[in-house]
């Protein structure tokens, strides 16, 4: 999947595009717009959704009830995109997202999936031995935390809403969002407060 495209594949793709354009199914402009939309999407969008949820209970309720609407309110066009679901971590409950069938990923709010997310190793081990995967990631859950693996296999896409870490009292949305990495939004990592920044 990560191998460079072969020239014959590229030639085939160009033929297909030319044929679709000739039939009026898509235009070059449509394709450019779709490409630009995909390139604009990044984990920063998901991170700001999370930071806002930590600051604003009303936003949090709306986002948990309707992730698609939350994404729209962040300025993401969700028309034609799969609906977005948000998984709420709580004391004693941690979510980890995987797609064992293929590589479903909430691209609208997280951008391109990393190659490890699409690898056979992650897809098979995350569902069978999530705790082993978390240990290898260096992610230590509080003792007694239940692990819920979310196997994303159909029409929804899922992102994790982690718990706000201690030591972030009074932080702004931007400061909080900086703690929420792509890996946190998939559930393989937890938000980490740099020691030097931790308030009481």
């Amino acid at each position: 999947m990560s191998a460079p495209a072969r020239p014959e594949s590229i030639a085939k793709l160009e033929k297909l595009v030319a044929s679709l354009v000739a039939r009026g199914v898509v235009s070059e402009a449509d394709l450019a717009e779709a490409q630009a939309r995909t390139d604009r999407a990044s984990p920063e969008i998901g991170a700001h959704m999370v930071a806002r949820a930590w600051l604003d209970p009303e936003w949090r309720r709306m986002m948990l009830a309707n992730g698609t609407e939350a994404a729209e309110r962040m300025g993401v066009s969700m028309a034609g995109a799969p609906p977005l679901g948000v998984l709420e971590d709580k004391p004693g409950l941690h979510h980890l997202v995987v797609c064992t069938l293929c590589s479903c990923y909430p691209r609208a709010v997280l951008g391109y999936p990393p190659s490890w997310y699409k690898s056979f190793e992650y897809r098979s081990r995350a569902v069978r031995d999530p705790r082993g995967v978390l240990v290898e990631w260096g992610t230590a859950l509080a003792p007694g935390t239940q692990v819920r693996v979310v196997d994303s296999t159909a029409d929804y896409r899922w992102m994790v809403l982690p718990m706000r870490p201690a030591g972030t009292k009074g932080w702004s949305e931007d400061q909080l969002a900086a703690l929420v990495t792509r890996d946190v939004l998939v559930g393989v990592a937890l938000p980490q407060v740099p020691v030097a920044l931790a308030a009481e």
Binding site: Q146, A154, Y156
Partner: protein
């Protein structure tokens, strides 16, 4: 939304269904779940049936559920209370066989 057959909390099991049993089919239930028991966690809505989409047939909408599976008996790894939450279409589920109560 299409009326749903199951409600939150219902005990179900994933059909032990394979193309080898009934000819070409696109069954998007992970293999590790087939024939396994779970519980309806949430009704997610109605979506075009992937079995039809895969063969470019007209695809009527089917109800999609979030189904919760306890980790054992699926996998030995993990700790008590760990579970797996998976999206499964209604026609790939069946009611769980009646549980036999201990006397």
């Amino acid at each position: 939304m299409t009326a749903s057959r199951y409600s939150v909390g219902d005990a179900v099991q994933v059909r032990d269904d394979w193309p080898e049993f009934r000819g070409p089919a696109h069954i998007r239930t992970p293999h590790y779940l087939r024939g396994k028991p779970g519980r309806i966690a949430r009704v997610l809505g109605s979506f075009a049936n992937p079995e039809d989409l895969a063969f470019a047939r007209p695809a009527p909408k089917r109800v999609l559920y979030h189904v919760l599976f306890e980790r054992p008996p699926l996998w030995a790894e993990g700790e008590p209370g760990d579970d797996i939450l998976v999206e499964i279409f209604e026609h790939w589920l069946e009611p769980a066989p009646t549980e036999r109560k201990a006397a």
